[in-house]
């Protein structure tokens, strides 16, 4: 759920909203252009490319048939993808709920939502080895194993290299189209000053949201859940979704703070907007905990061997500490910290919370992906190394570069949206 004001567009006699600044017209006095965006894109992109290439270089030179590379890279990749998808979900929900508070910050979301093509590009280091038959990452690529294992054989109709690639292509075509659609339509309105666009986007948002929910869930199943091809959990897509929303709002807050540091959006984006973003971070931290607990509880309690084994791997040995770290770091600490209204309305407080949540979300992805590295029992100690750092730098750098590149010739605020005045006058208690 996202915050929304009632979609009052539908009935004429409506009144009574918190914001009663309806009489004021859009009066954005801020600098809404980011001329340095291309430069930012070049720097971030440069760092990103170096990061990705360094990871690949380290991975190839490790001489383990890309095994350690694949897991390190996948961790960083699903991390970056979750942020991009979080942005896409967020923008779609703002349209679906006809939200008014968020109009002033929506463009920044759109810039990130339109950056999924770069995630498609970044998928190649995973996809290419799979298509070449490298089964270090996904055991279902190993034809000899599939022949011998009844379960893997059963799943072969779904878990095979061709269908895997086809699905990824379908997901990315849809995501790229949707992100591009939100951004283009919104930018177009800046130019044409057309009225009533939001009604049209509202219509598109409902079916898009359904498709988005399905593609996101199946992407999580394909990329992460199939690492342990015998394991299954129906809630898994929701789990990935909840983390994605947390991570996106955290990055969102940081990007807005950075923009304000650059002297952009200083007056239009107020503490009230940050407070709302903080509330979403808080709410989805709790939601993540709820989903994570539900999954754990049901598997722990029923104790069915083929399900429990997944948690067995993730709550024993070195992973036990990681699991406890997630309980405390991904729930207890941010819950207590963000519970306070003052923290959410304080720049330093919210910044700290956002950085922390981005970090623990990475730990969460690490904890989902890497224990599968030890499925043949050769794992001693936490498998963390230089590649994990370079991969995250690479993926995040490329993601930020794509968003900045999108921003280079656009306003940072949808200036012609009719609801902008409401958004500017938005107050939050």
């Amino acid at each position: 759920m996202a915050k929304k004001d009632s979609d009052s567009e539908h009935d004429a006699p409506h009144g009574g909203h918190e914001d009663h600044g309806g009489d004021s017209t859009a009066a954005v006095t801020d600098d809404v252009r980011l001329p340095g965006a291309a430069r930012v894109a070049q720097i971030a992109g440069g760092v990103g490319v170096v990061g990705v290439l360094a990871t690949i270089g380290l991975g190839v030179s490790a001489g383990d048939d890309l095994r350690s590379f694949s897991f390190a890279y996948l961790t960083a990749y699903v991390y970056g993808l979750s942020i991009a998808l979080g942005a896409l979900v967020w923008v779609t929900l703002q349209h679906l709920f006809a939200a008014r508070w968020s109009v002033v910050v929506r463009r920044v979301g759109e810039l990130f939502a339109a950056s999924t093509p770069v995630m498609a590009l970044l998928a190649l280091p995973i996809l290419v080895p799979v298509l070449m038959g490298n089964h270090q990452l996904y055991e279902w690529v190993d034809h000899a194993a599939v022949e011998k294992d009844h379960i893997l054989h059963h799943k072969h109709a779904y878990l095979n290299e061709t269908f895997f690639a086809v699905r990824l292509v379908v997901y990315f075509v849809f995501w790229a189209w949707l992100g591009r659609y939100w951004l283009t339509k919104s930018v177009e309105q800046d130019r044409t000053k057309a009225k009533g666009l939001h009604a049209k986007l509202y219509g598109v948002s409902a079916p898009s949201m359904i498709a988005l929910a399905l593609t996101l869930s199946f992407a999580a199943i394909d990329l992460i859940m199939s690492l342990d091809a015998r394991w299954f959990s129906t809630i898994f897509g929701v789990y990935y979704f909840s983390g994605a929303v947390v991570a996106w709002h955290s990055l969102f807050a940081l990007v807005l703070f950075w923009l304000q540091g650059q002297g952009k959006l200083v007056k239009s984006v107020s503490v009230h907007h940050f407070h709302d973003i903080g509330k979403m971070m808080f709410a989805f931290t709790v939601f993540w905990a709820y989903i994570a607990f539900s999954q754990y509880m049901l598997i722990w309690y029923a104790n069915v061997p083929e399900e429990t084994v997944w948690y067995q791997e993730r709550t024993n040995g070195p992973w036990q500490n990681v699991a406890w770290f997630l309980v405390v770091g991904h729930f207890v600490v941010p819950f207590l910290f963000l519970l306070s209204r003052h923290v959410k309305r304080n720049r330093a407080g919210l910044k700290l919370g956002a950085v922390w949540l981005l970090f623990v979300h990475w730990v969460d992805m690490f904890w989902l992906v890497k224990p599968s590295l030890g499925r043949h029992g050769e794992l001693h100690g936490l498998p963390i190394g230089v590649m994990d750092v370079t991969a995250v730098v690479g993926v995040l750098g490329m993601l930020l570069a794509a968003a900045a590149w999108n921003a280079r010739d656009k306003n940072l605020i949808p200036l012609e949206d009719e609801r902008l005045a409401k958004s500017l006058a938005f107050t939050n208690s």
């Binding site: 918190e18 129906t234 709820y290 309690y301 069915v304």
Partner: protein, 471 residues
């Protein structure tokens, strides 16, 4: 909030109210007075004939409920169709169904409040009342399902002569705490919201008995701003507490099933899936109740088409979430490669209970699709009909989950087919009698709409800055 007809709108055509003292446009000096009058007259004037007819039907059903329970207590649970392997069916189905219905009220009150959805004020009181009554209906079933109504105190942690304590590692024990807490908090929330409205009734009362009765429950509320300040803070806190509580209740109910190892029950998506289903069914019940209420009880000036439309959108949205869960369960049943999981779902589709399964799919997934059309969303009787259909569908959802999974045990030698007895049906039907009786009494004696909250979101309630007083 769409309006009670605006002050200047005296052009409203006097509709022929057919002698219904509850209908007709409200009167008052200003928009606040009109709201007061519109809501208060339901408790002040004699009810229309429709109310009496409805109440008579509800009482008849309630009597049937009482007789069914008496028969049950006297004879034992053999009067139901329960058998091995389906050792519980209608009792638990009805429990989950009613608890689910009981979710919309607190959702509307709490979550929509936190999300700043002002439109909730027109419907939240009725929805909260519905929540309480649904939870009352739900709470009856765990109390009677062993046919020994003097034993349920075993569920509570009371020191007793047996030297035993309840088992906190059992999901059924969590249910006791979850449903108990939910009932209590919903009641507090409901009562707290009504305090200012009781004060309004007290101050309008013309008879001594009304003055005393409403005076006691209003506790001397006079609308002091210093009191409003604390009141609003407490209300916000209750909303913030009730929001995760709503999620927890049906999650805990889902644990009753999902912690087991039974195929069709044991699946990790159950908690959010049950919550979505509960909101879905709850909203459908709100629409089912409020469409006739606004039509016959003259509330259409406050509960407008826009409210109906927004509720239908929520129904459509949560219906899609439920559809997602159905789909994901199917996919994973195949994907898991587990023979039993796979069979369970094939069995739902084509087995002996296929009729129930397809009824559920039609009611919950197909029927709400009509709400993609704006025209259908704004047709109150279509909304009402779909509301009824969804309620049927949500009952069948629980029946499908519980009945089909139990009837096909791991061993084919233990298979069975559950056939409900007439007492099963009269108990289910009778519980509706209890629900409607309570709801009709609520319409007659309590503030059906949260007057203070509706007033607070009117445009006239906002303070104009920059110029002086009103005159």
């Amino acid at each position: 909030m769409a309006a009670v007809a605006q002050p200047g709108a005296t052009t409203v055509v006097q509709q022929s109210a057919g002698g219904n003292p509850w209908a007709g446009p409200p009167e008052g000096e200003n928009v606040f007075g009109m709201i007061t009058q519109n809501v208060s007259r339901l408790t002040e004037a004699k009810p229309p004939r429709a109310w009496y007819v409805a109440f008579a039907i509800a009482l008849a059903l309630l009597t049937m409920f009482g007789l069914s329970l008496a028969y049950l207590f006297y004879t034992g649970i053999g009067v139901w169709g329960n058998m091995v392997p389906v050792a519980w069916c209608f009792d638990i189905v009805n429990f989950v169904f009613w608890v689910g219905i009981g979710h919309a009220g607190t959702l509307i009150s709490a979550i929509l409040y936190l999300l700043r959805q002002d439109w909730r004020t027109a419907i939240n009181r009725a929805a909260e009342a519905m929540t309480i009554f649904a939870v009352v209906c739900a709470a009856i079933f765990p109390g009677i399902h062993i046919g020994r109504p003097w034993l349920p105190y075993w569920m509570f942690p009371i020191p007793n002569q047996m030297g035993m304590w309840p088992q906190f590692r059992s999901p059924l024990e969590w249910d006791v705490f979850a449903v108990g807490t939910y009932a209590t908090v919903s009641l507090l929330f409901w009562y707290m919201g009504m305090i200012p409205d009781f004060a309004t009734f007290r101050d309008r009362s013309t008879t001594k008995i009304r003055r005393i009765a409403y005076g006691i429950v209003a506790m001397g509320w006079r609308g002091s701003s210093r009191q409003w300040h604390r009141y609003e803070r407490a209300y916000l806190l209750l909303a913030a507490l009730a929001t995760p509580l709503v999620l927890s209740v049906h999650s805990v109910v889902s644990f009753d099933f999902a912690t087991s190892q039974l195929p069709g029950w044991h699946t990790t998506i159950f908690p959010p899936y049950f919550v979505a289903g509960a909101i879905f069914g709850g909203f459908a019940m709100v629409v089912t109740l409020l469409v006739p209420a606004r039509q016959f009880f003259g509330l259409k000036y406050i509960i407008t088409l826009r409210h109906i439309e927004l509720m239908t959108k929520v129904i459509l949205g949560t219906g899609m979430l439920v559809g997602y869960a159905y789909g994901m369960e199917f996919f994973i049943a195949w994907y898991s490669g587990s023979l039993y999981e796979g069979f369970t779902f094939i069995n739902r589709l084509f087995g002996p209970y296929a009729w129930a399964y397809w009824t559920m799919i039609f009611c919950n997934v197909v029927a709400p699709q009509i709400f993609w059309s704006r025209k259908m969303r704004r047709n109150v009787w279509v909304a009402f009909a779909v509301g009824v259909i969804v309620n049927v569908g949500m009952w069948f959802e629980r029946f499908v989950i519980i009945g089909t999974s139990l009837a096909r045990d791991f061993l084919p030698s233990s298979w069975g087919y559950y056939v409900p007895t007439p007492t099963d049906y009269t108990t289910l039907g009778g519980s509706f009698g209890l629900f409607f009786t309570l709801f009709l009494l609520f319409c007659r004696y309590l503030p059906t709409v949260a007057m203070a909250e509706v007033k607070a979101i009117m445009p006239e309630a906002h303070v104009q800055h920059g110029h002086g007083g009103a005159h």
